[in-house]
Amino acid sequence: MEAGARTAVATSGLTRRFDGHVAVDGLDLEVERGAFFGLIGSNGAGKTTLLKMLTTLLPPTSGSARVAGFDVVREPREVRRRIGYVPQLISADGGLTGRENLQLFARLYGVERSDREPRIGRALDFMGLADVGDTLVRTYSGGMIRRLEIAQALLHRPAMVLLDEPTVGLDPVARSSVWDRLKELRARFGTTVLLTTHEMEEVDSLCDRIAILHRGRLVATGSPAELKASLGERGTMNDVFVRYTGGRIDERGAYRDVAAARRTSERLR
């Protein structure tokens, strides 16, 4: 079963169509265990669709994907037990306190009763939320909400976390607080991190491997350093992005994606 345990993600010909439009097109992607992996692309490049397939939310139209050693279509529950997911949209409940949000997910993930409170306490500590644990999430800042959401995704100690544009709509201070937590997470627990982004700064400061998606296809993979070097001495991540995607950042941005991203940043404010 765990034959593919070395690789956190392996997809083969992974494809998703939405009535006539191909969102993800024959993707062969591999993410090694323990990697800090960035999926880069403009709005509508297929990042969110890909993440939804990897997290078992969306069945592929064709092709296959194994996540944490299990097939996302045939063994979705095994996959779910082993991953944590932070969607692009807000996923913490504003009407509950931080602690209650964590309790809900500790129960949904089957964390043993005796383990729940200690783990929740440590998660709040780790995310720098210990003193606001009993405050309603509605009163949190955007960065605090994101950190809580990450804490929710970590309670069951997943081998891998998948984050969809985790810093969209955050101010620079909040953004770097999220970055720090993710770095520490990998350093301390060896958790594989897969995130989507269209911010080159995020790629530079976090990722050791990246894949560039363009119109649902994989157009480049490598380390940021390799890809930059391939453009000459003074290549930047921006140059890399322009080189592989033709530089039209907002091309084919699905209205729904854009609307969702804006709504999120609005609510995070």
Partner: protein
């Protein structure tokens, strides 16, 4: 399930253990979802009060007027006594049927996405919501009891009767909130949901025995009333809630029909719920 091997017993008992722990998991997940909902309700209970206004008006205005005109044959019962269980059933229906809106709201955020990525049983996620809708309805029932008593409705207040009413409310709410969830999964937007919610509630209410007996209906409507789950909820409530009330179909049939309906709806909703985020 049955193993042809001699050691089939061992695997059968392992099966039973995993089924049992599956049930424990299922109960814990259902409770987790219901608990979160109830905490929110306790923090902001205004909704319970505003939603109680409409059924109170039905009792105060419609009930009192129709009691005077004796337009509806209700046998030995006064009309007000007859309709009180119907109004309670209506309040259960109206509270539960709009519950899908909350689910669409949670989906427009990312809350549903995150729940669906957890290994929790899809049916537990559905049932947890249904249970919390039931508890909301119970809170409203308490208000309705107080008003009905003030109006002189001959309520049965013996503990077994009240317990039966509570159980019936929970079951009825679970049915209509799950129905609502199914609609939410199909239409996916608030605007369309509101339209369909309005279209659903009135026929369910008027094509039932809530405010008049089935006997007075034209034949075609009798048929509709007999397949309407609200009819069976009203029938239970009428038997348990007021002095002199009795069940037309028998409580066994009432509960059987409702439990069967709920099982079908939860099965359908568990399949549809994951599609709401696609």
């Amino acid at each position: 399930m049955t193993s042809p091997l001699p050691d089939g017993r061992a695997s059968a008992s392992a099966d039973a253990t995993s089924r049992a722990s599956g049930l424990v998991e299922f109960a814990r997940e259902t409770f987790a979802v219901a608990d979160a909902e109830l905490r929110k309700l306790l923090r902001d209970p205004t909704e319970v009060f505003t939603r109680a206004v409409q059924p109170i008006l039905w009792l105060l205005v419609f009930g009192q007027v129709f009691t005077r005109v004796h337009a509806i044959p209700t046998g030995a019962m006064t009309y007000l006594d007859f309709m009180t269980p119907g109004v309670l059933a209506q309040s259960v229906l109206f509270t539960a049927i709009f519950y899908g809106i909350a689910v669409i709201w949670e989906r427009d955020l990312g809350i549903v996405h995150k729940m669906l990525v957890s290994p929790a049983h899809r049916s537990a996620l559905v049932l947890g919501k249904a249970v919390s809708a039931g508890v909301r309805a119970v809170a409203q029932a308490a208000i309705l009891y107080a008003v009905a008593l003030a109006l002189g409705v001959r309520l049965r207040l013996a503990p077994p009767a009240v317990a039966g009413v509570l159980a019936a409310i929970l079951l009825g709410s679970a049915i209509f909130s799950t129905m609502s969830l199914i609609v939410a999964c199909v239409v996916k937007t608030r605007e369309r949901f509101m339209g369909i919610g309005q279209v659903l509630t009135m026929p369910l209410f008027f094509a039932s025995n809530a405010i008049y007996p089935i006997d007075v209906m034209p034949d075609w409507l009798k048929v509709v009333a007999h397949v309407n789950p609200l009819t069976y909820l009203v029938d239970v409530l009428r038997a348990l809630m007021v002095e002199g009330g009795h069940s037309a179909f028998g409580l066994g049939l009432d509960v059987g029909v409702q439990a069967g309906t709920l099982a079908l709806l939860v099965a359908a909703a568990s399949r549809l719920y994951p599609t709401i985020v696609r």
